[in-house]
């Protein structure tokens, strides 16, 4: 079994350390050099790296394979598992493999629908969904597969899930959040939040439901006005508020990315200083190279946390 070079997400969270995680988007193809550069760049700057699983239903290098590469390079992976492409047998088999290779943290997602991606005619699976996936893992931890059969050697994962603070209406999302906790979720990452006031209101609601479960704010880097317009129009559950749109619009030519970096650094600082949540998850979508800069500006150094 692979040795952990670093403490897992569970240990970090349970020690009360503010978690800083990043994200690795695997490439479309076998050229993994750039991805490895990103892994090497991030592995000492963040506590853990999420690996997206055919994100947005676009086929890519697998999340499980990437998790192993992260381990090989001395990083800590957070394996995203979606229910879109695999049935319960395939998911269970993947989890067994992941466990034996040292993966200890799994983020359970339903997955985007097939038609939003680049294999629009594929057969969608959705044999189970996020809540059932959490339950399925808990059953495996108790030594049983979902068919009720004994496992020879079990698993133990730190089970994560997603919640969408910007969803409209929010009530069904909050009920589902509660269900995920009941099904075994130990920690959450949120979908992108930009409006920190709305995020605070969300956190109040969430804490009323459960005041112990760990919650990390999902922050997505703003890179350009075009990206903002696209997100506001097309990405459900993501909303960039007017003041940030204005701040980006006011950026001098060629300064959009730097403005985005400054905004995110400020948000990270606010999350820490105001103790809004238990950590942040940084999604730099393709601009992983600037994550160290963001953390510098935010004054965050995980070696001193």
């Amino acid at each position: 079994m692979e040795k952990h070079v670093k403490p897992g997400i569970k240990e970090i969270m349970e020690s009360g350390t503010f978690l800083v995680s990043g994200e690795i988007g695997p490439p479309k193809g076998t050229d993994i050099d750039e991805m490895i550069e990103h892994i090497d760049l991030l592995k000492d700057k963040v506590h853990a790296m999420n690996i997206t699983d055919n994100q947005s239903s676009v086929m890519r290098y697998p999340s499980l394979g990437t998790a192993l590469i992260i381990l090989e390079h001395g990083g800590e992976p957070n394996l995203q598992v979606t229910c879109r492409d695999r049935n319960r047998l395939a998911i269970e088999a993947d989890l067994l493999f992941a466990y034996t290779r040292g993966v200890r943290s799994v983020l359970c997602l339903t997955g985007d629908s097939v038609p939003v991606g680049d294999h629009k005619e594929a057969k969608a699976v959705f044999d189970c969904e996020s809540v059932q996936l959490l339950q399925l893992i808990r059953n495996m931890e108790e030594g049983k597969d979902s068919g009720g059969n004994e496992l020879k050697g079990g698993v133990e994962f730190y089970k994560g899930a997603i919640v969408t603070p910007e969803a409209h209406p929010i009530e069904p999302q909050m009920l589902k959040f509660a269900k995920k906790i009941e099904a075994g979720a130990q920690w959450f990452q949120t979908q992108a939040v930009y409006d920190m006031d709305n995020f605070k209101r969300f956190m109040e609601k969430a804490r009323k439901i459960d005041d112990k479960v760990k919650i990390c704010a999902g922050l997505v880097l703003l890179t350009s006005m075009g990206a903002i317009k696209y997100m506001n129009a097309n990405v459900p559950g993501v909303f960039v508020p007017d003041n940030l749109v204005q701040e980006m619009a006011d950026a001098p030519k060629g300064e959009a990315l730097n403005t985005g970096i400054r905004i995110m650094a400020r948000q990270i600082r606010q999350c820490i200083d105001e103790k809004l949540c238990d950590g942040v998850h940084i999604m730099a979508i393709g601009k992983e190279g600037v994550v160290p800069q963001i953390l510098d500006e935010a004054g965050v150094d995980i070696s001193k946390m």
């Binding site: 809540v131 589902k176 459900p236």
Partner: protein, 221 residues
């Protein structure tokens, strides 16, 4: 009702290559309502095929082409026209088409695509509300089906893609889970929403499905 749409005429023609004498079958029920295989469409098809140089040996529209015994009987009643045909163009659902297959060894060709089990909102406006899963869970969801009306068929609440009550796959379509939530809230039964539904048995009605009534009254009753 079974919802069908017409295949493009070119595709129909291609299927009939090498079969010059064609017998056309339509259905008086579903395909009539869908306007894909009623009297009118069958007559139209006859005209179009004849314009392409085909000989139509006969046409017939009857109820329940999917009824295999009934179809056999119709074949006997139309013996001559049926026997002189090289093949059959079936303007019904796929079940009707395969019912015809049981009555002949000749070419059997579908004129339609069979799309779903549909509800009729009004004439010419159909929507899918049940996908025949074999283990009906409507009772738990305020009689709104998550298996069918949620694009992902998920059982524990909306995915993160729902927005203003619409589905992430199509802004014109209601998010089934928002409908369910609203319905349960109206009924004061949100506790059902809070319950966790375990893995569903997707093999409750194993393909190919089969139901056989126990023989009733055998031996005289």
């Amino acid at each position: 009702m079974i919802i069908t749409t017409s295949k493009p005429f070119e595709e129909v023609l291609k299927q009939l290559e090498g079969e010059d004498k064609v017998f056309i079958i339509g259905c008086g029920l579903c395909s009539t309502t869908c306007e894909t295989g009623g009297e009118e469409q069958v007559a139209e098809m006859k005209t179009k095929l004849e314009a392409e140089g085909k000989t139509v040996t006969g046409t017939i529209v009857y109820d329940e082409v999917c009824h295999e015994l009934n179809t056999k009987r119709k074949f006997r009643e139309n013996k001559e026209a049926v026997e002189s045909a090289d093949g059959f163009l079936v303007m019904t659902c796929g079940a009707g088409c395969q019912s015809v297959r049981e009555s002949t060894e000749k070419g059997v060709h579908p004129a339609n695509n069979t799309v779903f089990l549909g509800n009729i909102l009004r004439q010419g406006n159909f929507t899918e509300k049940c996908s025949l899963c074999g283990d009906c869970v409507l009772e738990d969801f305020g009689a709104i089906c998550p298996v069918t009306r949620c694009h992902k068929g998920i059982l524990n609440g909306p995915c993160g893609g729902t927005d203003e009550g619409k589905c992430e796959t199509d802004k014109e379509k209601d998010c089934g889970w928002t409908l369910i939530y609203n319905q349960l809230e109206k009924m004061g039964k949100l506790d059902r929403f809070q319950r966790i539904y375990g893995l569903k048995n997707w093999q409750a009605s194993m393909k190919p499905g089969r139901v056989i009534f126990e023989k009733k009254g055998e031996g005289g009753e």
